[in-house]
Amino acid sequence: MKPQSAFEREPARRVFANELRETRYQFKESEDEKSPTYVLLPSGIRSNRIFIVGTLTEKQRQGDQNVFYRGRVVDPTGTFFIMAGSYQPEAMQQLARIEPPAFVAVVGKPNLYTTPDGTCLVSVRAESISVVDHETRDIWVLDTARETLDRLDAFGTTEDSNKAQEEYGTRPDVYRKIVYDALSQVQL
């Protein structure tokens, strides 16, 4: 049997669009080329990968030589901007096939970039996209609400959340309100 490597896959964090949109801080643990890049979420946790479920409302094919797709995925709190290019062939081909509007589940890596006029944008480089149903979307809202509340409950007690306090001046109450509003939109 092959020896087990110490490699551990980065978990996919659950985050609402509203929180991801506020994300501004990106860092690496070490100088090593292969070490993962994290963004720091305002609720106080690092994230190298996220899992989102929402409604794909729009998609666009862009580029001539290097074709890539952009899409907008909407959750109860806002919009995620996703993209998939030739380095994500699986996601690109899946996205090419899906016709909006549709409920989709996206696994991807959050990326920060700054536009020439200085605004910071967050996009999600998709690793995979699949069509799901309404119930999965609702379960995701509950799941994301729970994990966001867990992070807010631990706020101030972890290294990452102290860093978030420094970078963003996070007010946990504001995020609790966002979670509450998101939950309120789920039909009983």
Binding site: M1, F51, S128, E135, I139, W140, L183, V186
Partner: protein
Amino acid sequence: MNLSEVTERISRKLEAKGAQPDRQKIESRLRRLVEEFGVNTAEAERTVTGDLAREYNLTGVGSTSTELRPISEITPGEWVTIEGKIVSLTPSLSPSIAQNGIIADSSGAMRFVAWARANAPVMEYGHWYRIESAVVDEYKGAPNLKIHSGTTISRMEKDAPLLPSITPVAELKPGVGSVRAKVIQNWEVSHDRMLQTGLLGDETGTIKFVIWKEEGKDQLDLNTVYNIFYATVDEYNGRLSLALNTAMYISDEGDIEVGRNETEIQGALVHIAPGSGLIKRCPVEGCNRTLSRQNYCPVHEIQPEFRYDLRLKAVLDDGIRAKNILMQREIVEKLAGITLDEAVGIAETNPLGMDEIFYRIRNAVLGRYYTCSGNEFGGRLLVDSCSPVTFKSEELASLLNRAGGEAA
């Protein structure tokens, strides 16, 4: 006898206490005692150690090794004196090893090795011995008693009955362990020298066992409970297994309800790994390996008479941890809503062939929430039951309470 070895041992003992002895000085003192005064090496070692300890104002250097210690409290790096019974002797694997086996007292048991160079008296099975100034180091993650040339062994006129304490399977640690367990699975032996291998279990969990071929060793009977005394617990890739060659085992009355130590994870399927879907397996008995697209088995080469199978290798992610999981045919059939026969039918007529099945299964399960339970094996959850997560309104209500306090 080599004096530089003794020198090394003495200086290490002193260094362990924080002193920085001069090795040349130690060796010249030893040489003087041994060569000029005809003192035997063990006595010379004791004398020099004691003298130097006094010079460096150290306490507990010479004395620790004569103080009797219970086996269970000994940790690697110590010099010890113990009294124990030889409960197992195993054939030596190398000419430099005179004897190896297991020595036990009422507190526990430990593997020991007597080096050929030590010229130690041969110890007999079932007798008690007092072993002075042996050194304990770590071998394969477990403490191991080394009998070297400075160790004194004396046979004792003691014959106290020794009842090994039984350890629950879930609490076994590398080293020596005694269990009361039931044989729940017999596995195909994977090696010529192997007599039997399979799975043992008690109320707390299960563990793999091996018996190597050796004269006088019997196989265990399936579904029978055994008292197994002084088996060797090995660790490999973070998993423990039990080697019974050092052990004495006798079948016991009664039955055991074997605990399955199941793990349950709820999360989203975030990745479907290559090698999922419809696969071909090697038909050679006991092989069952996955064949390549060209029907090539890594061991049995080209196998045109393969068997088809369905499986799913994936990652289930709860947002905190990503877990590799593996599902067998029955579960994949249920989850993806496709039977093996249907999958084979589709694959043989569809231009994408087996890829088509991969895509169908992926589209059915990727990005959805499941609760999976099963046994963990090598960092992977072998799923034996899996069900989709459903939306629960009471969960919504409780989360609303948590988030808002005042419900709207």
